[in-house]
């Protein structure tokens, strides 16, 4: 368990990832592994955010293009994405991101609520914002990222 008590405040470890220009944080407990997505099979008729399915050591992983999920432009063709592997309700997902950064330990009480004027697409998946030196880190909620299945049914 990475949760520990330091000076009466809870801290958690986050893995930082870059998606487009923005730095995001994912709770390290949610992250299974980080891998190079290879040999991805696009799935026809699926929602645009679903980049496809791929085989990760015998498991079928559904890849989600985080740029599209967050409404950022598609990445240049000459760069290849990285993937963060997560498990959610028994299924494996890979979040396609641009770059994986360091692991940070952040105190719970240092994370600020989402600014009211944050893009609703971001606010929907964000747990809050952490101020770092000269940069802002948006904390992502994995279960909310995957929740768009419900929206699709409603639509």
């Amino acid at each position: 368990m990475s949760e520990e008590s330091v000076n009466d405040t809870q801290t958690r470890e986050y893995i930082t990832v870059r998606i487009g220009p923005q730095l995001f944080g994912l709770q390290i407990l949610d992250v299974h592994d980080v891998f190079n997505p290879e040999n991805m099979t696009p799935v026809p008729m699926s929602r645009p955010e679903l980049a496809g399915v791929l085989n990760l050591r015998g498991r079928i992983v559904t890849a989600i293009d985080m740029r599209r999920r967050l409404g950022l432009g598609d990445r240049d063709d000459d760069t290849s994405p990285m993937a963060v592997g997560i498990d959610h309700s028994g299924e494996s997902y890979g979040l396609l991101i641009d770059e994986v950064g360091e692991v940070l330990s952040l105190a719970d009480n240092s994370i600020e609520a989402n600014p009211a004027n944050l893009d609703p697409r971001w606010a929907e998946v964000s747990l809050g914002v952490q101020r770092l030196d000269g940069r802002l880190l948006v904390i992502l909620d994995v279960s909310k990222i995957l929740r768009f299945a419900g929206e699709a049914l409603a639509a």
Binding site: T41, M45, S46, G58, S89, A149
Partner: protein, 949 residues
């Protein structure tokens, strides 16, 4: 105790199923002592166990049943009523067991009715010495030894068990001996019994009756016998009074243990979850093996080759072995059927024989569970609806006994199950009226269908063939539920029925759901798997070959063995068309996967076909589950993930447009114009000039391009030999280009076995649009001009051309028949009026035409007006068809006047509303033949119209 109880329930259910089957056999052959002994044993065991577990109600009932069977065994004559009563008792026992399973206690209630009836029959039967011995009360602590003791003068009959003995089981012979040698009630020792109970409780899987324990023989030797001989280590204090009872039963267990190897095959019970896990792991192993092989294939000289080959073989064997653990003979699903059929036969007063062939055919237990209910339902159906009663059979010149034949056999990776009866068959005519009545299709549509297509309607939701609702079947849920269940497991169902000879249902299901054989195809650079079960054949289409893809504008079709097979592009279905547009040449080539799903055949056009592969179906991510064209995904040998196509999903995806067209294309072109409101499917073509011309597509039978060399001239006319007939050709006008070479495009119209070709220059398109004649024409052959797809288009009057080919086209239908019949035709559309007028007049009807309901009513109400029928459109200004019909029905003088509706709607509610309003019949617009037939029906008894060739 709970373990013990649940084990008891499982065992008893199994025993009861066997009893059911055997009793039915016994009834058929009362002289077969071995069957009776078997049944007797099973019931006896149940009774004993019930006593042991303290279930007095069950015990008393089983006891009475056993008593009666004891009489039979001693030679009393076997009566049908007696067997029925025993079967009834077994049903009651099952009910009680059901409650027991649900609540853990025996339900309240009395079985006095059955017990007294059983006892009465027992008393009637000639009693032997056994009767007195059997006469023990249910409360007796140990009735078994006495019961067995009663029969101990008899020689031991040879016992036969249907299945092989499990380890730990004792043969029935041994059991019988044990019962006979058993100590009397006074001699048993409590500690031994307690030890035995303890042993069983600890193991949690021993069966109290000792006949079916699952501990293997070794365990018995080691545990049971010593436990019985030595003082018990720790007797369960909670159960001394229970323990007292089974004392005599301990003996058979010991007996079995002493008698060395009683079992020839050894088996252990394994939790299903464990097996499932094993299968998953083997599936993974298979995938990994495939990947390794793929890699090895790329490296010619590899030292891994040999060990890899070995690994591959071992894996294959392992896979086979593990899959085998899930396999069960289909006979398990059939076990209950003899009893069901017997009861049905009694209930329905029919004489039915159930033949079961191939009961040993094995299939996956998961699949087995899923088809159990559908199969039962279908056998009931066959017994209830399929077979006639004895009198009916004799009248039809058949043997009195109806036969239901259930057979199963393997074919490829599938299992085929057939349920055949030699009954009355499906009456397509009866079915038709039912279909129309239920509003599932119009008569006109039905006329165009083959008998097989009509028969398939019984799979339609909410369709039940039972003329009357019996308590056997006919509750409105029926074959559609069966079909849904079979679809669910990726199977298909079809039927063949010959009137008067019987009906055969054929179910085709995969052997297993976990691993399927699939065809790997390519489309737009991606690979997909199509389950082999749905694939009928592969056709390679190439330009200028026998098999080429032809297009009617955007609708691709393939000529395959004289039939037009509708094609769907995989690109289109999967929305992959965004890639490079296929060139003209590509559009005519490609691989066609001919697919058949539940009676519907269509071709899927793919770019390439690789091979078939055994794939492990893996469920799709929940984010993808809404895509119905896929049923799952899998990992191929090369490690890539591909999607598995669901043929049922494809049918659904295309059924909206092509599927209906599909079925009829080889017979009659009848595009579902009627399904759409207001719009009509129109064939747009060019003839003579650049201006587009159109004709309602539903009037056209086929579109052809006939080789110019095949056009012959005779009697001053152009003729072509077409489908074994001479078909006259008419050029639409003089400007139509008479081609010198190649093919001449033409529209073929067929009616009553005759065809005519209308030669044109070019087929342009098939469009759906409103057909409204805005400018009528004086030119012969042209009805008028309509705006179709934003272009002024001449609408061709087909009725003008037909007599040019056959002058008697309209008149040959016995005009004399209708001479003088006056008909009021009501339609607001000049086009339809113009189209129908010559049809009706040439059929000999006298015609008055109105353009809306109001004027029609005025016309009818006019003094002295006499009409024989009204043909009315529904949607009209001023007064629509419904209101017209209601007014006519409300009118004292006109009440009996038949009204036929012309409609483009065929949905059920609409037709229902029309019927309520008072319409006699519904005919689709454009369906001249249907209209004439409907008018015929008005005069005569409803006649069965033969389908025109």
């Amino acid at each position: 105790m709970d373990d013990l109880l649940s084990e008891f329930l499982t065992e008893t259910h199994e025993s009861l199923d066997v009893v059911d089957v055997q009793l039915v056999q016994f009834e058929a052959d009362p002289n077969d002592a071995s069957i009776l002994d078997n049944v007797f044993r099973l019931v006896h065991t149940i009774k004993g166990t019930c006593g042991f577990l303290g279930l007095p109600r069950l015990e008393a009932l089983a006891h009475s049943g056993e008593t009666l069977m004891g009489k039979y065994r001693d030679g009393a004559p076997v009566t049908k009523s007696g067997v029925s009563l025993i079967l009834k008792s077994i049903d009651r026992i099952k009910d009680i067991l059901g409650d027991l399973a649900a609540t853990g206690t025996e339900p309240e209630g009395s079985d006095e009715d059955l017990i007294s009836a059983l006892d009465e029959i027992s008393a009637q039967a000639d009693t032997g010495g056994a009767a007195a011995a059997e006469d023990v009360t249910a409360d007796d602590a140990a009735p078994q030894p006495e019961a067995a003791g009663g029969g101990d003068e008899e020689p031991l009959p040879l016992q036969i068990v249907e299945r092989e003995l499990k380890p730990g089981e004792v043969s029935l012979d041994d059991l019988e001996r044990a019962f006979q040698e058993a100590d009397g009630p006074g001699e048993f020792e409590v500690p031994d019994a307690a030890a035995w109970v303890n042993e069983i409780s600890n193991e949690g899987e021993g069966s109290p009756d000792g006949a079916d324990t699952d501990a293997d023989v070794a365990a018995k030797d080691d545990a049971v016998s010593p436990a019985a001989e030595a003082p018990p280590p720790a007797s369960e204090p909670a159960k001394p009074e229970k323990a007292a009872k089974p004392a005599p039963q301990k003996k058979p267990a010991e007996e079995g243990a002493r008698n060395e190897p009683v079992a020839t095959t050894q088996s252990i019970r394994v939790n299903v979850d464990t097996l499932e896990h094993l299968i998953t792991m083997v599936s993974e192993l298979v995938l990994t093996r495939n990947q390794l092989l793929e890699i090895a294939r790329r490296h010619e000289e590899s030292e891994f080759k040999v060990p890899l080959q070995r690994l591959s073989n071992v894996t294959a064997e392992l896979q086979e072995g593990v899959m085998k653990t899930r396999m069960q003979p289909i006979g398990n699903a059939w076990q209950k059927l003899p009893r069901i059929v017997r009861d049905l036969a009694n209930e329905l007063g029919k004489d039915i024989e159930l033949e079961m062939i191939g009961a040993e055919t094995e299939l996956d237990r998961q699949v087995l569970e899923l088809i159990k209910d559908p199969l039962t339902h279908m056998v009931r159906n066959s017994a209830d609806h399929g077979l006639e009663d004895s009198a009916g059979r004799e009248a039809a010149g058949k043997s009195k006994k109806g036969i239901i034949r259930l057979s199963a056999y393997h074919e490829g990776g599938h299992i085929n199950i057939e349920i055949a009866d030699d009954g009355r068959g499906i009456n397509a005519e009866k079915l038709k009226s039912k279909i129309v009545e239920k509003g599932l299709a119009s008569e006109v549509e039905l006329d165009k269908m083959t008998e097989a297509q009509i028969q398939r309607f019984i799979f339609h939701p909410g369709f039940s063939m039972a003329a009357k609702v019996t308590n056997v079947s006919g509750r409105g849920v029926g074959m559609d539920v069966v079909k849904t269940n079979i679809d669910l497991i990726g199977g298909s169902i079809d039927l063949k029925s010959v009137l008067g000879e019987g009906t055969t249902f054929v179910i085709k299901i995969p052997l297993t759901l976990a691993i399927v054989s699939a065809l790997i195809v390519e489309c737009a650079g991606q690979r997909f798997a199509i389950p082999q079960l749905a694939v009928v054949e592969l056709v390679r289409a190439q330009a200028n070959s026998e098999h080429r893809i032809e297009r009617i504008k955007d609708t691709p079709v393939l000529r395959l063995r004289n039939k037009l097979l509708p094609l769907v592009g995989m690109r289109a279905i999967l929305g992959l068309a965004d890639g490079a547009e296929p060139s003209e040449e590509d559009a005519e080539t490609g691989f066609i996967v001919v697919t058949r799903v539940g009676g519907q055949t269509f071709g899927i056009v793919v770019d390439g076909v690789f091979h078939t592969e055994e794939i492990v179906v893996k469920p799709m991510s929940s984010l993808l589950r809404d895509i119905t064209v896929f049923s799952g995904n899998t990992i191929l040998g090369d490690g890539s993930v591909i999607m598995i196509i669901d043929p049922n999903g494809i049918t659904r995806a295309i059924s909206a447009d092509i599927a209906t067209e599909v079925e009829e294309h080889d017979g009659k072109a009848d595009v579902d114009a009627r399904d759409r409101e207001d719009t009509t499917a129109l064939l747009v073509f060019r003839a003579g000039s650049e201006d587009p011309k159109a004709v309602p597509l539903s009037l056209v039978t086929r579109l052809e391009e006939i080789d110019i060399t095949k056009i012959e001239r005779a009697d001053g006319r152009d003729l072509v030999q077409y489908r074994g007939q001479l078909m006259p050709l008419v050029f639409l006008n003089d400007e139509v280009e008479r081609r010198e070479a190649g093919g001449q495009p033409m529209l073929v119209f067929s009616d009553m076995g005759r065809s005519m070709g209308l030669a044109i220059d070019e087929i342009v398109d098939i469009v759906e649009d409103r057909l409204a004649i805005e400018v009528s024409s004086a030119k012969p052959g042209i009805v008028g001009t309509s705006v179709i797809k934003e272009r002024a288009t001449e609408v061709v009057d087909v009725a003008h051309y037909l007599p040019m080919a056959f002058p008697d086209w309209f008149t040959r239908k016995d005009p004399g028949l209708h001479k003088g019949n006056r008909i009021l035709l009501v339609d607001d559309s000049p086009f339809f009026r113009e189209m129908l007028e010559p049809v009706l007049r040439s059929a000999g009807y006298d015609l008055v035409i109105c353009d809306n309901g109001r004027t029609a009513l005025n016309e009818l109400e006019r003094e002295g007006a006499a009409f024989d029928a009204v043909i009315s459109d529904i949607e009209m200004p001023e007064m629509d068809g419904f209101r017209l019909a209601e007014s006519i029905n409300a009118h004292p003088r006109l009440r009996d006047l038949p009204i036929v509706a012309l409609s483009s709607h065929t949905d059920r509610e609409y037709i229902e509303r029309g019927r309520r309003a008072g319409f006699y019949d519904f005919v689709a617009k454009f369906d001249r033949q249907g209209l004439l037939a409907a008018l015929d029906d008005l005069k005569d008894e409803p006649v069965i119209r033969e389908q025109a060739a």
